[in-house]
Symmetry: C2
Subunit: 406 residues, 2 copies
Amino acid sequence: MSLIVQKYGGTSVADLERIRNVAKRVAKTYDQGNNVVVILSAMAGVTDDLIDMASQICESPSKRELDVLLATGEQTTAALLAITLKNMNYPALSMLGHQAKVVTDCTFGDARIIEIGTEYFIGLINKRNIIVVAGFQGCDIKGNITTLGRGGSDTSAVAIASALKADLCEIYTDVDGIYSADPNICEKARKIDKISYDEMLNMASLGAKVLQIRSVGFAKKYNVPVHVRSSFTEEEGTMVVSEDAGMESLIVSAVTHDKDQARITLKKVHDQPGVAAKIFSPIAEAGIVVDMIIQNTRAQGQTDLTFTVPKKDFQAAIEIERKVADEIGAVDVLGDKNIAKVSVVGVGMKNHSGVASIMFNTLARENINIIMISTSEIRISCVIEEKYTELAVRVLHTAFGLDKED
Amino acid sequence: MSLIVQKYGGTSVADLERIRNVAKRVAKTYDQGNNVVVILSAMAGVTDDLIDMASQICESPSKRELDVLLATGEQTTAALLAITLKNMNYPALSMLGHQAKVVTDCTFGDARIIEIGTEYFIGLINKRNIIVVAGFQGCDIKGNITTLGRGGSDTSAVAIASALKADLCEIYTDVDGIYSADPNICEKARKIDKISYDEMLNMASLGAKVLQIRSVGFAKKYNVPVHVRSSFTEEEGTMVVSEDAGMESLIVSAVTHDKDQARITLKKVHDQPGVAAKIFSPIAEAGIVVDMIIQNTRAQGQTDLTFTVPKKDFQAAIEIERKVADEIGAVDVLGDKNIAKVSVVGVGMKNHSGVASIMFNTLARENINIIMISTSEIRISCVIEEKYTELAVRVLHTAFGLDKED
């Protein structure tokens, strides 16, 4: 008898009809002789509506209380699915975060799971109960309700799967798997059958739309096999697993892009200790996440320093840096919102040289200028002009042999 | 420094604007130097909407899961009020039923409070925090979420007030107090300044619209002074307190009526031991609440037995009794839905004779026939034809000197 954890996202539980479909799928898995634990998101749109309601009260609602408010979304779907399953004569039981003993730190709005108490849980599962857990929520050691951040139900699912030593964690969503590129841009994109945790972690911009990236880190750490698939079809999706010999032998698994980037350059910064801290500390304090940082070769003790931030933070970041530039005596602050990041990702890179050179040559052939470059062990990212994004994705997809056969 | 528990009903928290008004009222009480605990209902209509949603899934949703669903209503308002108060720089903190340690039995949908853990609670209050408790909900000893039945937030408030030994429990609602009769029927009805617990308990039909009757029993048991008042005005409402010398010296405090009554008569029942049990056991098993029971004087070992049930249960009850009549050999089963109960209530009755005779004479003068009579120490109720209800209330209100002065 296997234990299968199934997570259903907001579009899969968007109304009572879809909840009924989820119930049928859960029942089918159960009837096949598996034990089943279900993790649910809130109905699509509900979390946004609740945030909107709170922000009508004030700009920065109390984070503790916002979590109490948001937690109602998953509580509602968990109760509704349990009602549906019970009505179909299945022994279902809902559990909220604190009932499932999902203990987190006390970072309201973006809490990290510390541990999951499993004793009571496993007792119920062994009695063949179907446990329906409200995702996205937990409680800190004082019993305060916490939430796990956007897409947190994925992390709930993987964490619970790992705590229960589940055989499989299925993530049901509204797309049928992870693609080798965004199919809206690249019509030759293929659904990937199997991908490693590390590749998923490097595919934030493609993957995060499907799976909360933090949940992948969790899955990797505890080696939980994750199956990302659609709740609207019976098709197999994408298995996210640890890297193994059976992995596809492609050098590059996917081409990703991210248009949510803006670039800021400080010209002629004095290249001396402590300057980088002066530039980035106020950015961090403003809660702005810096992605790439490039420091050009210095000349006469001066250097140009360039970094990227999300587009929404561009205005705030550039204002901060203008002040910083005055303090540290930088000559100028330049900004550019018309950029995008294009990346190729693949564990195969580790054993193949020449990936970077194929990438640069491919872009050069299309006269696409590379503005910034950054690399990891299994990823190469180039910042280019935004208008070339779609073209770049398509030509790279072809160049690395990813195009699906017709 | 006093501790004041304030409960706000669904219409008082029906939208963000009204929640802001509640926050102002809470803040004012706090600023006057009081410690304040707030108990909230769900926004008006929300509980009904949730029940409606569940009943779209099936006719009899799992009671356990329905409670999980319904509990979201009060969770939402508690979070929203806490957000509002925090934004006004008051140290507010929401608490759900299980966080406030409202421990109940496990009768889902209609749970009874067993105890309330106060240690943590009192610690927070003593640090001058304003605790905003989600009303209507608790948890059983296993940690399952329970709800306290319709109007349960009143009981939450009174129970918490008694556990915390609060100086006062204010029940804010959309009416400005308890009236000597329904003002919609009797325009001379007066707002009652002070009324005893016992009178309130006997005024179910008037009072239950304003205050869950169970909460009054709780208030009486623990001697919690309850102030029923409107959240939309600054007017004093009605104090519900233990009977004392300072009580108004009226013989009758109020005239109540209840049109939600139907009458069933079993004709010529054999008057022998065990018959009453045969008649009422199946009614009780069907979950139907019987109000009045009258057994006429017997003649030749046979008697007529009449009782009343809520109108909604009339059809079910009469079908049950037709079967019972066959079994026990009763001659006929008659029913009548066109009846109403009119009552006069007052602690003064205990020391005054003649109340019944005034009541009967007053009704007789208007040619209103009395179909059934029942009495308690401080109440006399008459069942009459429904069409005379308004007239009966008005003439009794005048006869007992309750009319307000112009």
